[in-house]
Symmetry: C2
């Protein structure tokens, strides 16, 4: 899914508007968390004696359940709206066609080997379930670069709108913080908070952390340049002597607001080492589909779900032919996004029904832009990673694959959440792309001469999810989460929305494994 920049972007917006305390409250209330409690391959022991399960949705949650349930002896069927398996685990390549709500159809023209992942695009090292399934299913992974110290941080209101290198902002912010704290300590202002023994250790650590001189000052010179980069880099032979770059004043650093972006890298979700499937995130979907594709009925829009004393029936309509039909099984695992499920007739109790209606879906948008050449590498030495801006595009993501390659390349040209995502999504795809190029050119002027074409996915116009991911408030989670996950008769829900790792594939996977474990217990207790 379009994931957790959500958190950052939302928090930054909240921070910008409402100040810091609102940020912290929002952060806690969003209930975000990152690691997974995957404990190894699920074990469903005992003979289900021909019990059958109807799975709705062939995303990661649905296909993992199909794989494990069939292995455990269940009869399994899967229905999916799309003409492909994978759901939000999705990659768009040249030749692909996508029609959004409203009827606009895009024909992607990316060159061979280039792609954009409109949904999830990275897998943290602690998403152990996803990594294990990738290994078991033979999905090759490569490092995803999250932080690039040579990428840009940009604010239209800072440094005359000129993008700064991440390394410059980081060094100057650290220098500012370290210098101020050293000053307070040296002036005996913190004697009540820092013991005499700790005082020297703290001062020593601040010099190391902030690149301070022995006098506790952060200043233009060799030490600061060894963090933020040089005006003239060192070389070899004669005339090799480096020249230092000039630091920013602490006031400029603080005023810029660019320090906001530094916190992203500190977040557990974005710590090293992250991975991505070689060739696109849908390599995971394809790998699952190789295992359970024979169980999936594609192009099937679910129109109603009815349970009775002996089973569950889903009515569906073929999205191309209009054919109507029904599928039935003893139990139903429903992984349909709540944004869609809330519109489908289903006879469940009031607790589950209320829970389904209680979770709004986050807006989000991704735009992939193809350029004639990888100018960000060739001109600017940016290999993978992300630039952040307070322009509506929010993010420019550089491909973490095929480094140093000649020929065209595809950037993630926009990845806004919140109001900007709505604004973008309200435009036509062509307008969105034109805007992304216009804004991106502020950071990379090469856009103007190198841009070729793009593709834009606004998640609120994606017909089968109508939003990015389930955005739990802490109030909704306290009131509805357990009801959402609890079995209702013969129906059980799974998906990222039924997890504490919202927006991530790991949440979808773990919710599914948890659900089928409980389903199996129920079946074995019959």
């Amino acid at each position: 899914m379009t994931e957790t920049p959500t958190r950052r972007d939302l928090l930054n917006q909240i921070g910008a508007i409402a100040g810091g305390s609102a940020v912290y409250l929002a952060m806690t209330s969003m209930g975000f968390a990152a690691e997974s409690d995957y404990a190894g391959p699920v074990k469903l022991e005992g003979d289900p004696k021909g019990a059958s399960v109807l799975i709705l949705g062939a995303g990661v949650a649905g296909m993992a359940a199909a794989l494990e349930l069939r292995k455990a002896g269940y009869k399994v069927q899967v229905l999916d709206y799309n003409s492909r398996a994978g759901g939000r685990t999705w990659t768009i390549r040249g030749g692909d066609t996508y029609t959004e709500l409203g009827g606009e159809t895009q024909h992607c023209r990316f060159a061979e080997g280039l792609y954009i992942n409109p949904g999830p695009w990275r897998i943290p090292y602690h998403h152990k379930g996803m990594l294990d399934y990738c290994k078991r299913l033979g999905v090759a992974l490569e490092p995803f670069i999250q932080v690039n110290h040579n990428a840009y941080l940009h604010s239209k209101n800072a440094y005359d709108g000129k993008p700064q290198r991440y390394r410059e902002v980081q060094a100057d912010y650290h220098g500012t913080v370290a210098e101020l704290l050293a000053k307070a300590v040296n002036a005996d202002k913190l004697d009540d908070a820092v013991s005499k023994d700790d005082r020297e250790r703290l001062l020593l650590s601040l010099r190391s952390f902030g690149a301070l001189g022995v006098d506790g000052r952060y200043r233009t010179g060799e030490y600061a340049s060894s963090r933020r980069g040089y005006a003239k880099p060192p070389g070899g032979g004669l005339s090799a002597e480096p020249e230092s770059s000039v630091i920013s004043s602490s006031s400029d650093v603080l005023k810029s607001g660019l320090w906001r972006a530094l916190a992203v890298a500190l977040d557990y979700d974005y710590q090293t080492t992250l991975f991505q499937p070689v060739g696109g995130m849908d390599m995971i979907a394809r790998a699952f589909a190789r295992e359970v594709g024979d169980l999936i009925r594609l192009n099937s829009k679910v129109t109603a779900i009815r349970q009775d004393e002996t089973g569950v029936t889903a009515s569906w309509c073929h999205t191309v032919t209009g054919e109507m039909g029904q599928s039935r099984a003893d139990y139903c695992l429903c992984t349909i996004p709540l944004s869609i499920l809330s519109q489908i007739e289903m006879n469940v109790g009031p607790k589950l029904a209320d829970a389904i209606g209680a979770v709004p879906y986050a807006p989000g948008m991704k735009i992939g832009l193809q350029f004639k050449r990888r100018f960000w590498e060739q001109d600017e030495a940016i290999y993978g990673g992300i630039s952040y801006t307070d322009l509506p595009i929010s993010t420019i993501g550089y491909p973490a694959t095929d480094y140093f390659k000649d020929g065209p390349g595809v950037l993630l040209g926009a990845y806004p959440f919140g109001p900007y995502a709505y604004e973008f999504t309200a435009m036509t795809p062509a307008e969105r792309i034109a805007k992304a190029v216009e804004f991106g050119a502020v950071i990379h002027p090469q856009y103007r001469s190198e841009f070729e074409h793009g593709v834009a996915v606004g998640w609120h116009r994606v017909p089968w999810s109508m939003g990015c991911y389930g955005q739990w408030s802490s109030e909704a989670r306290a009131k509805h989460y357990r009801n959402l996950c609890a079995m209702d008769g013969r129906i059980l829900l799974a998906g990222e929305h039924a997890s504490y790792i919202p927006a991530w594939q790991e949440g979808a996977l773990l919710s599914s494994l948890d659900a089928i474990g409980r389903l199996h217990q129920r079946v074995m207790a019959r």
Copy 2:
């Protein structure tokens, strides 16, 4: 070369012994710097009319010069001591044999595809010369992982000797610094240093940077856990609720000294994105050798270098057959390490002679250890990156390639500089390896059951370099650097020692390109 952990390790040692001001002085005096001033392929225009150059040493400096000088029309010969090209750009694999000073021979038994780079093992994004040559010569690169937030920081004197995760130390150190500074600001202790406008921005930034609550406190809870990791990670379905990990007290954080390691990642040399050649650093040596291997006479130990009015003659001795011979050319580009060159008879002026004698060579050692399985990935979710310890091994480096692979793997099991490197090198290779396993088991108990065999390179016992790299003091650099680089009659020096990027391949390369540019000017001015 064994590179700049040098700087860090040395500085840490200096810091531990002499306190912070010594660190800063040492840092500036070591003259370290990182970026390169490579300005694209060298252009040697004009016809050298049959001028010839004898190059001593077939490392990166020597082979780059050979390639460019031949292309420009020079007659080129290269002599090298070793039976392979590459010099310190070196990879040891199963089947390789290495004999050190003192006569100890090691036969490496690593499994197919596994290797250790005793010298350089990474290329920063700003080493533009090396990256350009890799591209031109078709050397495939992959990301090198420097920082791994899930790797360990360890001190025998902290946390009862129990390794801490990098993420835990980083979060707790940031929390400590941010909380203390927020406290000083809130108590109006810094009103002279921070304007009223900046004050609110600073407080807001500290909350974001240090994961502080609205009250300015860093405490155990969801926010801190979203940085340092969880006691029970979040999951899916029922029982998915995460449990927070418990933070360290600021005093424990400061006392531990583990914050020292955090500064490494801030250094320009180690910022993202770093690269390594796929398959081992010597892929670069092999690529150069494909171009200029026909010019290189291997197994040739230079015994004397004499210049006269018409040219330069190097006397050599075949290291296997004992055959003696001489090679002569109009000019000589000498890339032999100063540690060796200072022992070779050579008629140069006193300025160059003094410079050659003025640069001691840094000690350093690397040990590669093969284990039955990649337990660091399978048991501990560590994919690439580095653990740091104050045990004599200093460093454990995890392979940044072949992630998730079954079968054996090779770790960098020790990478000490300074006194520890001397202590290790004084032992036999077998003893060094046994010690590395003993110390490493403190951090990874799996060592005891999983270790198979290893290989140990102590750079002061490497016959052809007798040390790691040229360790310039600022006094020596001020007095001798320009003399070292200046042409002396028909002789010109190059190599990492003739650069402001010591210990790195980029320094060797740029010094070489600078030298041949000046040599060519001289030739064209005839």
